[in-house]
């Protein structure tokens, strides 16, 4: 456990160095947040607004998406890990007295948390102080907020476990280029990053309930703005945990199988 803790710390501090990138990220998130809100407001002005997703709920949903953008974006391309798989440096990892799954999980998690820590406060402040109904609203209730925090933590773990599945797939394609973008694109559609899920047709909402992606972030945001009843949020938190356990288990088994097949060529 101590090894994981120090690994987490190293990665966390390492990523904290990229402050300029974080500043650009803050600007980007803020600009895109505004752009999407203006866009959806134009549509809302036509009427036919879904009753469980008002303009204020939509605005808060978009801001939460932007605030936690780096925490939840679909595929984190870690050059170090891609290099390990593509170049074969993975054999160095295999001689370490440390479970590779745990090692990867820690690395990816620390980097995400650190990137989020650098960015989320400024975007949050900007989103709160925006006037005229353009800003982030308060959570629907104290209970909603508590459950939101729970969903946020489980969701951030879930995205890492899905990421590791992507890296497991990479053992078979040997290149990160295509496979990562396919997962990223499908994920972005099914988790509400391209369009808030409450605005999609009913059949589509039914479909995404059976996929893991919306439990990463959409559930978290919908809990906050209370566009689904609290009891449903609670039930879906159960599904969220089930997906997390499923992916951790599959990822562990798959990685073990892949590692058995790694052939070291020497040199």
């Amino acid at each position: 456990m101590r090894a994981y803790k120090s690994l987490f710390k190293i990665r966390f501090i390492n990523t904290l160095q990229y402050r300029t990138a974080a500043f650009a990220g803050i600007l980007t998130q803020f600009a895109f947040g505004l752009l999407y809100i203006l866009l959806f407001r134009a549509f809302y002005a036509q009427g036919n607004v879904p009753e469980n997703f008002t303009i204020d709920q939509m605005t808060s949903y978009i801001w939460l998406q932007q605030i936690f953008f780096v925490l939840f974006y679909m595929v984190d391309k870690n050059p170090l890990m891609i290099n390990q798989i593509e170049q074969g440096n993975i054999c160095y990892e295999m001689v370490r007295p440390m479970n590779l799954y745990g090692n990867w999980f820690c690395t990816l998690y620390a980097e995400r948390i650190s990137k989020t820590a650098l960015r989320f406060v400024p975007v949050l402040i900007l989103a709160i102080i925006l006037p005229g109904g353009f800003g982030l609203g308060a959570p629907a209730s104290a209970l909603n907020f508590l459950l939101f925090l729970v969903n946020l933590i489980i969701g951030s773990l879930l995205i890492i476990s899905i990421n590791i599945i992507a890296y497991c797939l990479m053992f078979h394609t040997m290149s990160s280029i295509g496979i990562f973008s396919i997962i990223a694109t499908l994920g972005a559609l099914f988790n509400g990053s391209m369009i808030p899920l409450p605005l999609t047709p009913t059949w589509f909402q039914a479909l995404v309930n059976f996929l893991p992606f919306r439990y990463v972030n959409d559930l978290t945001f919908q809990t906050y703005v209370s566009s689904i009843p609290l009891i449903d949020s609670l039930l879906q938190t159960g599904i969220q945990v089930a997906w997390l356990l499923f992916f951790v288990l599959v990822g562990n088994l798959w990685l073990k199988r892949n590692l058995k097949k790694v052939e070291v060529q020497g040199g």
Partner: protein, 259 residues
């Protein structure tokens, strides 16, 4: 021409990784169709936005998607200009008897983005096909002008990014707000975002010139004028001039990083 020699070299390079190329093509087809699907979802619920229908918005989406992909695919080198500055590759360009811009434009052709262009063309043909009106020769000419204007606009934005990177060395990620943001913004006619955004992207960065201004003519909307709407793509291309001048100015001030 030099550009085509580089072009062939880049083609041979990418052909080495076929599976990866294939997967990239699939991914890009997905991206394009998913974006169109989200537009469809919104219109499925709201029917119309500020007087624009799904058919009309699909055209603005197709145009911006094709223009951006084209620029990104064939002129990738200018997008990666910061890298040339950082690694000192630019010094090599400066001593060769060719224009820096020609070399930068041709040094990298991103064929994995070729899929996007193909998809963009398919989407454009589809969206032209679903329009309820008849395409007259003048409308087709305006559409072609819109496409050229879009490519020139994005190229100009990449040039501005390149000029800035000469001074800052590190690539300016914030420039992506203009390029990627512009692509997102122009999926819809820019006047739906309200007066402020509309004016910003008509008079400062003229995205509207290949977007809603000429589209108003194509869709036979009221109050269309020859100079205000039909010729708008031609004004838009003028944006390239200040961008190019800035680039020339930046190159004059260039001091190598020494690495």
């Amino acid at each position: 021409m030099l550009y085509f020699k580089y072009f062939k070299m880049n083609l041979k390079k990418i052909a080495q990784y076929r599976l990866s190329l294939l997967l990239s093509l699939i991914a890009q087809t997905l991206t394009a169709s998913m974006a169109l699907l989200t537009i469809y979802f919104l219109f499925d619920r709201f029917k119309i936005v500020q007087g624009w229908t799904f058919q009309q918005v699909s055209l603005s989406y197709a145009v911006v998607y094709l223009c951006f992909s084209f620029t990104e695919c064939f002129f990738r080198g200018i997008d990666h200009f910061a890298l040339l500055v950082k690694t000192g590759q630019l010094d090599g360009f400066l001593v060769k008897p060719r224009g820096v811009l020609t070399q930068a434009l041709s040094c990298e052709v991103e064929f994995s983005k070729l899929g996007r262009i193909l998809v963009g063309i398919v989407v454009l043909i589809y969206s032209c096909y679903i329009q309820p009106f008849v395409w007259t020769p003048l409308k087709i000419t305006v559409l072609l002008l819109m496409l050229i204007c879009g490519v020139v606009m994005f190229l100009a934005l990449f040039l501005i990014g390149a000029s800035v990177s000469i001074f800052t060395v590190e690539g300016i990620e914030a420039m992506n707000i203009l390029t990627d943001g512009g692509r997102e913004l122009c999926q819809y006619p820019v006047n739906i975002y309200g007066k402020f955004v509309q004016n910003l992207f008509t008079y400062i960065i003229p995205f509207a010139c290949f977007n809603y201004l000429p589209m108003m003519f194509i869709f036979d909307m009221p109050n269309v004028t020859l100079f205000g709407n039909i010729l708008a793509p031609l004004y838009g291309m003028l944006f390239f001039i200040p961008a190019y001048l800035l680039f020339r100015f930046a190159l004059k001030k260039y001091t190598s990083t020494g690495s």
